[in-house]
Symmetry: C2
Subunit: 116 residues, 2 copies
DNA sequence: CAATAACATTGACGAGAGTCGATGTATCCA
DNA sequence: TGGATACATCGACTCTCGTCAATGTTATTG
């Protein structure tokens, strides 16, 4: 807590940033987990399809064809994105509708933002 | 080329963005390579140390102690960052001074930027 | 209840990543 | 010329990741 306040005072930010000050091991591990979720072409395409969807929601079956991967593979990637906080799933009947978590994406973007 | 102009017209950006429009396989692969370079705590700490350095340059030997990794391991990570365009090395005598490539980092940040 | 559909989970496989000791290469100095 | 220093490369190991076939789970429908 003291460390968090110190970080805020030093950087003017609420989240660790790569460019603000040297990261300790824990901060670096947290950020690395986030970027790991972005470090796969299938997952990036899932996010981009979600972002481009008019109603902001896409069910899993709509990823399988366009991305050329099997249903278990898509399900695997969506789970990774979900655990990283980048997407959220909502079950309605047989379908699970996934939506983009733009706040989480903004956090990772902010970690690459210059401090000054 | 035609595709690039089309992308610029549609998105107002020069680089593929996750949030602008659905990524094709090649665009997604390119971005994934960039985020893969960021998806490791050691490499994030290397970048953060470079960003915090007063003169913007750090030689390899200054990473080894603080990061608690062997010299070959640090050299390996610096190479990955270099190949990803995120850092540049400059040999001066026995030392190799590495500096941060902020433009490349800005490109990856822009890929997470909302289009509207 | 049985059959179907959408999605998740499991198990297994090959490929790639992170790590370090040992070694190679380049540079400086005595 | 020889030794010492800084960094890169190699080889090997372990572990994780991406992938898919097979199977399980949940919900709808007849």
């Amino acid at each position: 807590m003291t460390k968090l306040i110190s970080t805020i005072e030093q950087t003017g930010q609420c989240c660790p940033s790569v460019l603000a000050s040297p990261l300790d091991a824990a901060q670096a591990a947290d950020l690395a987990r986030g970027f790991t979720a972005l470090a796969d072409p299938v997952r990036l395409r899932v996010l981009s399809i979600l972002a481009a969807s008019p109603d902001g929601e896409v069910c899993v079956c709509e990823f399988v064809g366009p991305l050329g991967k099997s249903q278990p593979t898509i399900s695997h990637h969506v789970k990774i994105l979900s655990e990283a906080g980048l997407v959220s799933g909502d079950r309605r009947g047989k379908w699970v509708w996934y939506s983009l978590n733009r706040e989480r994406l903004a956090e990772l973007r902010a970690a690459l933002q210059p401090s000054g």
